[in-house]
């Protein structure tokens, strides 16, 4: 029965025109970034390497390759994608309540847990398709336009260079991690959706929470660093970047296939998973007792 419900929910998601707004928005943003980097790529790299120009010969054209562009795109848009996820997931239960179909749905011979789970899995598929679409545009299209070479990733106080043969698996891992992070956003939006009778509230609430925690994360002041940041989901959502931080040997040369502190990535993934379970638990518990009047 869950499978049937899941298929119906998927059908509902992809029948709504607003679903495709996200795909369109991502396409427009990615193409715009690619265009900008094709025209002014050197200026963009200079933004990071300006202080080192006196010391090093910087191979700007080689740095500006498809892999670098993909990281730049992910860096720019993964912060905003939660908004696109909330747009769909925040409507899953409240949209039905608003349209008056929730009572009809709850009256069918399926458990309320199955209804919530079907909606969650359908939202997860939407997240997955969104990321596959993003990967096709940001990674594969960039590889076609800019070619491939070693990947250079800039941290606050370090430059990580990775062999081009050691890069593709990192992108796959990063996209899988991003899928987990965005699924967590979907779970949160569905939770808010269960409490509301129209979609605006859950969508705005989800986006506001992401914005607030992102600001706290960016402030990095000790009072937040020791209290909120270790548990803030926005800190762990950045985990996709961890796959692009490499380990070096004693001579300072990077080790292919290595990731800096992989246990931190596992911890972040588990925390995100924990949030998903928590949000789903709250949603199911509340929705099971909810008096559905519309």
């Amino acid at each position: 029965m869950l499978w049937q419900l899941f298929k119906i929910e998927l059908f509902k998601i992809f029948k709504r025109p607003r679903t495709f707004i996200a795909f369109g928005a991502i396409a427009v943003i990615v193409v715009l970034i690619q265009f900008a980097l094709k025209v002014n790529g050197k200026d963009f790299v200079e933004l990071f390497l300006d202080s080192q120009e006196d010391i090093f010969d910087v191979p700007y054209e080689k740095i500006m390759n498809g892999y670098f562009v993909c990281v730049a795109v992910l860096h720019t848009i993964l912060i905003h994608v939660p908004l696109l996820v909330a747009l769909i997931a925040g409507d899953m239960l409240s949209g039905e309540a608003n349209a008056g179909t929730l009572r009809l749905l709850a009256g069918r011979p399926v458990s309320r847990t199955q209804i919530v789970l079907a909606k969650f899995f359908a939202s997860s598929v939407y997240v997955l398709l969104l990321l596959i679409w993003m990967a096709m545009l940001a990674l594969f299209l960039s590889m076609l336009i800019f070619g491939t070479n070693d990947l250079v990733v800039f941290k606050e106080d370090a430059i990580h260079v990775m062999n081009q043969d050691d890069v593709l698996w990192r992108f796959i891992a990063a996209f899988v991690f991003a899928a987990l992070a965005l699924t967590m956003i979907a779970a949160m939006a569905i939770m808010f959706s269960a409490f509301a009778e129209n979609s605006i509230g859950p969508i705005v609430a989800t986006v506001c929470i992401v914005v607030v925690f992102t600001i706290i994360e960016q402030l990095r002041v000790p009072v937040f660093k020791e209290t909120i940041i270790p548990y803030s989901f926005t800190s762990h959502m950045l985990g996709w970047k961890g796959f692009f931080y490499v380990v070096t040997d004693a001579d300072g040369n990077t080790i292919d296939g290595s990731v800096e502190n992989p246990s931190a990535l596992v911890r972040s993934a588990l925390i995100l998973l924990g949030y998903i379970v928590l949000f789903l638990f709250i949603t199911i518990r509340y929705f099971k007792k909810k008096e559905i009047l519309s």
Binding site: D54, I55, E156, R220, K241, V247, D251, G252
Partner: protein, 229 residues
């Protein structure tokens, strides 16, 4: 009395007593050796050891053309190559025309006794403000050099010779140079905090090091000017 007698005997026998070493003659002989190479293309492995750069070992090509054109290229991947590497060719110092030189005595480099020669260019336009060469006088090879430039501080070079020492070309070069701190605003980098602790000891090390191990040389077969663009 015996000492005076000993000196008198040596004088009569025509034995040379120690006198000032002719460092200009040494420099001339070293230059003569380096002058045998008009150009070369070399292939090698470049290892980067700079505090803020984590880079893989790169395969590089080194192009040289007399008197002082040198370019290191990573033809396949991305490498940040220090601009000062142009000084890995001692000809930069040996071709100086107007300079003063001083004998700095003998010091050991890699277990070999080397003549220390300090060179001060007199031309104000020259980027090199001072250079110290450590020369193995038995082979007439520069084993180590410390060059202070006006633009980029001090470079140190240690050269290890092997199969190409007759051409005065090294098998391995260790190049040490000054670096600048690398720091991006947090808002630009938006890092993932994976809890990796910073090494406070390393933090103070502002010197960068690169090592080039040469695997092959093509000598005096011509090098296109386009390689230096």
């Amino acid at each position: 009395m015996a000492n005076y007698l000993y000196i008198a005997v040596l004088f009569l026998m025509g034995v040379d007593l120690p006198r000032g070493h002719d460092i200009n003659e040494t420099l001339r002989k070293v230059k003569e050796k380096y002058d045998k190479v008009d150009d070369y293309t070399a292939t090698g492995k470049l290892k980067t050891n700079i505090l803020f750069i984590k880079a893989p070992v790169a395969t590089v090509k080194v192009y040289y053309k007399k008197p002082d054109r040198l370019r290191i290229k990573n033809e396949k991947g991305v490498s940040l190559i220090p601009k000062g590497t142009v000084n890995i060719n001692p000809n930069n110092v040996l071709t100086l025309k107007d300079y003063e030189s001083f004998d700095g005595g003998i010091e050991k480099v890699n277990g070999k006794d080397c003549r220390v020669i300090k060179i001060f260019p007199l031309d104000d336009k020259n980027d090199i403000s001072r250079a110290t060469l450590y020369i193995d006088e038995t082979e007439m090879l520069v084993m180590r050099s410390v060059i202070t430039s006006k633009e980029n501080g001090t470079y140190e070079l240690v050269l290890t010779y092997g199969s190409q020492k007759d051409w005065a070309l090294p098998d391995k070069v260790n190049f040490t140079f000054n670096t600048k701190e690398f720091k991006l605003p947090k808002g630009i980098s938006i890092d993932y905090d994976n809890g990796t602790a910073k090494d406070s000891k390393k933090e103070k090390d502002k010197k960068g090091k690169i090592e080039i191990s040469y695997s092959s040389y093509v000598i005096n077969k011509g090098v296109a000017d386009s390689n230096f663009d």
